[in-house]
Amino acid sequence: MRNMLKHCIKTLISFASPKYFYVLASRLYPWMLCFSFICLSIGTYAALYLAPSDFQQGDAFRILYVHVPSAFLSLGIYTIIAICACLYLVWKVKIADIIATCSASIGATFTLLALTTGAIWGKPMWGAWWVWDARLTSELILFFLYLGYLCLRSAVSSPRLSAKVCSIFALMGLIDIPIIHFSVKWWNTLHQGPTISRWAKPAMPWSMLWPLLTMLLGFGLFYISLVFMRSRTELIRRERQAQWVRVILKESSSCNMPNTYGVVIS
């Protein structure tokens, strides 16, 4: 048991090495992207054609199949950034900072998508594109937090200082995540309460639930594959002086195309 645990920890630590992470990301991202497209295609078809209409919202509830996963990812990605920030500040894990950097722009996109699709859903349902509701306002603050994080990244020129400052900023902004999550419970909001809860039975029938779960899986896999794609580029940019990166760049220039998989681990 102890040997197995030691082996697991050793494997995890080896993936924190930039070279191993590059290989892992290069091998996994095409598969993840492929699976995410399959899930998204099935989920979209089921959401638009198979799921029955809601008795109150009619067909407009179908917007929630893209709104809920976007909102879920906007919160999830920020939490991942905060965990990575913690890993960087405590153990100086380089990969953690790279994942946080690559996740920020993706998180900002999904937050903007959640806000926009929410506004498009709100117009026919509430009669307004926007209301200063607790959930909506706290989500807008999250979008500004993402923008602040991205601005801070590009504003500080020293890579080490930039990583440190951004990690502290990300940890400070983490306070907004529980506020967004519990806003519908703490305040009397126009936004509906949670439909899927970890502790309670889902408030929607299975015929409506499974397309949502498929979309959630598709969005999640899409995020992971994008992080892998972006982190490969970021790794090469940061580690360009390392021997293994020189090998990749040499191979790519001799083949006249970017190296995708052919990394030799010595």
Binding site: L33, T44, L48, S53, G58, D59, A60, R62, I63, V66, H67, S70, I106, T109, L112, L113, T116, T117, I120, W121, K123, P124, F222, L226, M229, R230, R232, T233, I236, R237, L249, S252, S253, N256, M257, P258
Partner: protein, 38 residues
Amino acid sequence: MQYAEYIWGCYFLTAGFMGLQIWLAYYDHQRLFQRHDQ
């Protein structure tokens, strides 16, 4: 389908954002290697 323009608008917007993200990630990677070749 009721509110079809709102629903399709959301789905096309999502697809557009996702496509843009993939293109940006791919373009960034390609550009890095092209810069190195030059």
